[in-house]
């Protein structure tokens, strides 16, 4: 084994976006980083784009995966307020949907691995 140098990259990453109207969109990116951070808007790599898939008053769901079996992933979704917050502090507190959740696991891989350095613990 060679020394630990860097985290593995996500590489090609795919997925599907579904709306509650029954439509589906393809998601596909090539990522040169181990972490993918993207806001769900029209800049999100989905075809058709996000706003046409999930219009106002509707909801959607999404699956994300790598085509490679050696890629183990975990993910989270954070919620915020996209529009300008209300002028009153009370309004902002009530209407702001803060929070986040870990993504649910649909399937798992048995081929992921990670190499860590072995050193005695440094304590105080």
């Amino acid at each position: 084994m060679r020394p630990t140098k860097t985290a593995a990259l996500l590489g090609n990453f795919k997925g599907s976006l579904f709306s509650d109207l029954g439509a589906s969109a393809a998601i596909g990116t090539a990522l040169g980083t181990p972490q993918f951070v993207a806001e769900l808007n029209d800049g999100f790599p989905a075809v058709p784009n996000f706003s046409s898939m999930v219009p106002a008053g509707h909801t959607g769901s999404m699956k994300l995966f790598s085509p490679s079996d050696i890629v183990g992933v975990f993910g989270a979704v954070l919620y915020g307020q996209s529009g300008k917050p209300g002028k009153k502090i009370k309004d902002r507190k009530v209407r702001r949907p803060d929070g986040g959740v870990n993504m649910r696991t649909l399937t798992t891989t048995q081929s992921a691995s990670i190499v860590i350095p072995v050193r005695p613990a440094i304590c105080n």
Partner: protein, 216 residues
């Protein structure tokens, strides 16, 4: 005595090359169907390898602010403040070393960087991974634009007490295979799902974060 330590990978928001393919919308799920008895779907933190997203930029920013405060007041209590200053730098240095994956690359964690932390239970004296499946944790994520949440760590259990080490004993391989073999942990997700995504036109923003677990 048992202790654990973690290492992190620092990753920036990078330019994303979009490769769209309409045929992907019908793509089937790859991978192994998760068994109902598996802990992999259980997002309660309760095991040997805690995987959690973390805002490293926040830690770096706070360390910088601490240093600035201490620097401006050092003339009052030089001894105490110098010690605190050194500790904060040491803590920041640990994160930076972790981000550089073992002190090799010297990448510092700076503002606007995000990343994740993998914490592994190890033997205090030897540093080898332990089957100590009682770690738990959470990350308070605060992004500079409108997102803030507390995300629980995702736990993976070490399945045996045996390890797979390099010939010189300086590296350990963790296999997220779910099999009762040396160095094996429970399986990790390959396909992720999120439901009830609100519309961006309803004044609700949604941020998706996906991290790959791996590296050598």
């Amino acid at each position: 005595m048992q202790r654990f330590r973690g290492f992190a990978a620092s990753i920036l928001f990078a330019a994303i090359t979009i490769l769209t393919d309409p045929a992907l919308s019908g793509a089937a799920d790859p991978g192994t169907v998760i068994p109902t008895s598996s802990e992999a779907s259980d997002q309660e933190a309760r095991s040997g390898a805690d995987l959690q997203p973390l805002q490293l930029w926040k830690e770096a920013r706070h360390a910088h602010q601490r240093d600035e405060r201490q620097r401006s007041h050092r003339w009052r209590r030089p001894n105490v403040l110098r010690r605190r200053h050194d500790r904060s730098r040491e803590r920041q240095g640990r994160l930076s070393r972790a981000a550089a994956d073992g002190e090799h690359q010297g990448i510092a964690v700076s503002p606007n960087q995000t990343g994740y932390v993998v914490a592994v239970a190890i033997d205090f004296d030897t540093g080898v991974p332990l089957d100590f499946n009682f770690l738990s944790g959470q990350a308070a994520v605060v992004l500079p634009n409108k997102y803030r949440a507390t995300i629980p760590a995702i736990a993976l259990a070490k399945l045996t007490a045996d390890n797979v080490l390099s010939d010189d004993g300086t590296l350990a391989a963790l296999f997220l295979a779910g099999t009762p073999e040396a160095g094996s942990y429970s399986t990790v997700a390959r396909v992720l799902q999120v439901t009830d995504i609100p519309s961006a036109q309803d004044r609700t923003a949604t941020l998706v974060v996906v991290n790959r677990i791996g590296g050598a």
